[in-house]
């Protein structure tokens, strides 16, 4: 993803590459395979450990991502579980017509996009800022403690998180309303007010995931060549300048890759948390595509309709991730592929 021959100063990358290719050439000479088939066999004999290590991921992709694609056809069929995927009759685009003539589905699409946009605007920078802040902490024990504390919410299940949120925002005895009460504000039943759903949901997401998300950026920061900082110190740069001029530019490729991945997941709002927190009273802002699919499709057994909605979701995500990747490649030379 990143051109490894540049930007890693001080490491004799080129020498390593030259040595490796020479070694390969020597080996190729000594074996002199007579056909490409023999070369392939030879290649597997030498590198089989790598393929063994790769196998679980490939199997995972085949079983959980590629095989289910066969079932996607039910989006265009009148699916009956008993008749099965192959034997259910085709109905063309009927399910898509139902979807797009349904106001609640359209509303759910917009809600998904709005929640994701808020997540992107507020949720995406949070772990980066957190990582930069951790990087500036010098006291080791304090740093470790702070990191542990912000990582912890990630390991709590959504059900517990929802319980904490419901209790904290309760109109009687909830901590938020108690604090508001000190300032003379009347208690608010937050979780039944559509206008409060998005802030609470996005805020909960940041609280839960920002800490854990910062790990990847901390790792990127750790990979920055220390000699850059050393020379900056010699040149009289202060910490603030080093952060802006060295740390951030150095981790920018990581940031962009994470951003592209994030954009690819834009239609995937963590819907289990939505289900735990929403109410009919807040459907107006809280109902996202996946919760709509869950209610209309899965609970009432309309798998074909749910598959159509899921396919639509995937198409939108595909277009978004392609666009983000292209833009990123064009303007920063960093891209997923």
């Amino acid at each position: 993803m990143v051109d490894r021959n540049t930007g890693i100063g001080g490491t004799p990358v080129e020498e390593v590459v030259v040595e490796a290719s020479e070694a390969l050439r020597d080996r190729a000479k000594s074996y002199t395979p007579d056909s490409s088939w023999a070369r392939t066999v030879d290649h597997f004999k030498r590198e089989w450990q790598l393929y063994v290590m790769l196998a679980p991921t490939i199997i995972w992709f085949l079983v959980f991502l590629y095989k289910p694609m066969y079932g996607l056809q039910i989006a265009f069929k009148d699916y009956s579980i008993f008749r099965g995927v192959a034997n259910s009759p085709w109905v063309g685009l009927e399910h898509f017509q139902v979807l797009f003539s349904n106001d609640q589905f359209i509303r759910a699409v917009w809600n998904t996009i709005k929640i994701s946009a808020l997540n992107l605007i507020f949720g995406f920078p949070a772990p980066i800022i957190l990582a930069l802040m951790f990087n500036e902490i010098l006291h080791a024990t304090f740093k470790k403690t702070a990191q542990t504390i912000v990582y912890l919410p990630h390991f709590i299940s959504s059900v517990i998180i929802a319980g904490i949120v419901i209790t904290a925002f309760a109109p009687t005895g909830g901590i938020v309303n108690i604090i508001l009460g000190w300032f003379g504000v009347d208690s608010i039943y937050f979780l039944t007010r559509p206008e409060w759903f998005r802030p609470i949901f996005v805020g909960t997401g940041i609280w839960q995931e920002a800490g854990f998300g910062s790990i990847v950026f901390l790792a990127a920061i750790a990979g920055v060549n220390p000699s850059l900082y050393e020379s900056a110190v010699v040149d009289g740069a202060n910490r603030w300048q080093m952060m802006w001029k060295i740390t951030i530019p150095s981790i920018l490729p990581t940031i962009l890759i994470m951003l592209i991945i994030r954009i690819g997941n834009i239609m995937e709002v963590s819907f289990e948390l939505v289900i735990l927190l929403y109410q009919p009273a807040t459907y107006e802002t809280a109902d996202v595509v996946n919760t709509w699919i869950y209610r209309q499709g899965l609970q009432s057994g309309q798998y074909d309709l749910a598959a159509a909605a899921g396919l639509f979701n995937a198409l939108v995500a595909f277009v978004l991730v392609m666009t983000a990747n292209t833009l990123s490649r064009r303007y920063s030379q960093t891209s997923l592929w």
């Binding site: 106001d103 109109p171 009432s300």
Partner: protein, 519 residues
């Protein structure tokens, strides 16, 4: 040697237990026959082969059920779902000989006509005299279990007893404030207001919660106090039937007026401020913290909270008759439904269809019904004056219904006819007193027993109902919470429902109803 003597001991016990029913008149097969079963009882998602009840049934009939259950029905929502395991079973491709589950009706009525389950009409007529005899006395129930093609695809679990939920109130709070039991909705409101303002728990804090509910749709049921209707059956937000006409409670003017009043109650603090998010622990928490004043909940489980009198001085929680509406009507909308959508069916690959229907019929014989209701004679109950009476140690071993599930009785995934006597034996005095009160007043109204759709009708239902229900609930909650005025919004609400296909949906329901119940 030790093993041998153990086996001998077991054989001896079995031999001792068998004689009373060893005459073999219930035997279905000469050679023992094994049938596979999928069993998704809502509270016990597996069929245990060593349940005492299964063992006795095996002894009596010669048919041995082998557990072949996949998945578990999760209780995510009281109103929907619970058929995940059935869908999983069907998607897996292998249907066991017998499929028993909660919420099985819509499932078998959809996939039965497609060929996944055996139609039962002829089998019942020829081989199941006890089931046939039951249906002969209850043609309405026979109609309710049929699919759109007129066939029965499952044998239902038939609850006994009429009463489910009732209105409950802290009578000791009434006494403390010098109030009478409320007889009308205005008196009820005055009582709730007094609970709110006059500190009946005496702790000096304004912390009482006058009306609360474990399931927030129970709050909506209060619209019956203003001549509205909420839930047409024991399924929340269900359609209702009045004089052979299908309708929906949320379309009525009584509902509109009721919601307007409930919105007022809510803003005045007479209803739990957290009614929509408090959830299933509401009753437990609010009663044991001495905060809750009144609710609408089940007789048996709610009466049990009177045990709190050992912790809270004077605690007394009693059922009271439904308060009269402004027009003087007193109704209790909730009742124990006549026929549950639960029961069991025969899978299409079953090679012993006749034996299976005879086995189903066994549970409708006197002995089978007793087994399904009370467990095993000598182990869980004794016959006293010709009646099954639970053993004291069995009654003392915790909640009796749970104990019964654990021995294989009272399974909702089994087609059987419940015997209410099983419940009376462990209902406490408060429940029995309440039931007597409701019996005297005759407050119950008929339930909507559901309809089976043809494929075309099903399409209309699928397309419209989910959307309509969501919209209704969205408006309902926001009216109660005070964002929107039901009186001002009403015409727009009805127009919006019509544009969503409400009339079409009602027509489809009506035609299905007329076909099924003979118009």
């Amino acid at each position: 040697m030790k093993k041998l003597s153990l086996t001998a001991a077991i054989l001896a016990t079995t031999a001792m237990a068998t004689p009373s029913f060893a005459d073999g008149h219930l035997r279905i097969v000469d050679e023992p026959l094994e049938l596979t079963i999928q069993m998704n009882h809502a509270r016990y998602p597996i069929y245990e082969e060593d349940w005492p009840v299964e063992q006795v049934a095996r002894e009596l009939t010669g048919i041995h059920l082998k557990n072949d259950t996949v998945g578990a029905n999760m209780r995510t929502d009281e109103n929907t779902g619970r058929t995940e395991a059935l869908n999983l079973m069907l998607a897996g491709g292998a249907i066991p000989d017998i499929v028993g589950s909660s919420r099985i009706r819509d499932f078998v009525n959809q996939y039965g006509p497609e060929g996944a389950f055996i139609p039962l009409n002829d089998l019942i007529a020829e081989h199941a005299p006890n089931i046939a005899a039951y249906y002969a006395t209850r043609p309405d129930i026979e109609a309710a279990v049929k699919a759109s093609d007129g066939q029965m695809y499952y044998i239902p679990y038939l609850p006994d007893g009429k009463y489910g939920r009732a209105y409950w109130i802290r009578t000791d709070w009434l006494d403390a404030l010098g109030l009478e039991m409320p007889e009308t909705v205005d008196e009820y409101e005055a009582v709730l207001r007094a609970f709110k303002t006059q500190d009946p728990n005496g702790n000096g804090l304004d912390d009482e919660v006058p009306f609360f509910a474990r399931q927030w749709p129970e709050l909506i049921r209060l619209v019956t106090l203003w001549d509205g209707r909420a839930h047409g059956s024991d399924t929340y937000h269900d359609f209702l039937v009045e004089d052979g006409k299908i309708g929906h409670g949320y379309l009525g003017e009584g509902y509109r007026d009721g919601i307007a009043n409930l919105a007022r109650w809510y803003s005045d603090g007479l209803i739990d401020a957290e009614i929509f998010t408090r959830g299933s622990s509401a009753r437990d928490f609010l009663l044991s913290e001495n905060l809750g004043g009144s609710t609408h909940d089940w007789f048996a489980s709610t009466s049990g909270y009177n045990r709190l009198s050992s912790e809270i001085d004077g605690f007394e929680f009693k059922a009271f008759a439904p308060p009269a509406s402004p027009s003087g009507r007193r109704i209790e909308e909730h009742r124990r439904i006549l026929v549950k959508p639960d029961g069991w069916a025969i899978g299409h690959t079953n090679e012993h269809v006749v034996e299976t229907i005879k086995y189903f019929d066994f549970w409708f014989t006197e002995e089978g019904r007793r087994l399904a209701n009370f467990g095993v004679e000598g182990q869980h109950y004794d016959m006293v004056d010709g009646k099954p009476i639970f053993k004291q140690e069995f009654l003392d071993a915790g909640p009796v219904n749970r104990s019964l599930y654990q021995v294989g009785s009272q399974l909702q995934g089994r087609g059987y006819f419940q015997d209410y006597n099983y419940e009376i034996q462990w209902s406490n005095e408060f429940a029995l007193e309440g039931i007597a009160l409701y019996d005297e007043g005759d407050y119950l109204i008929p339930d909507f027993l559901g309809v089976a759709f043809t494929a075309d009708e099903q399409k209309v239902y699928d397309r419209t109902w989910g959307t309509i229900r969501d919209f209704m609930l969205e408006r309902q909650q926001s009216w109660i919470l005070g964002s929107g005025d039901v009186m001002a919004d009403w015409d727009g609400y009805i127009a919006q429902l019509d544009s969503m296909g409400m009339q079409e949906l009602l027509e489809v329901m009506q035609s299905a109803y007329d076909r099924q119940y003979g118009g």
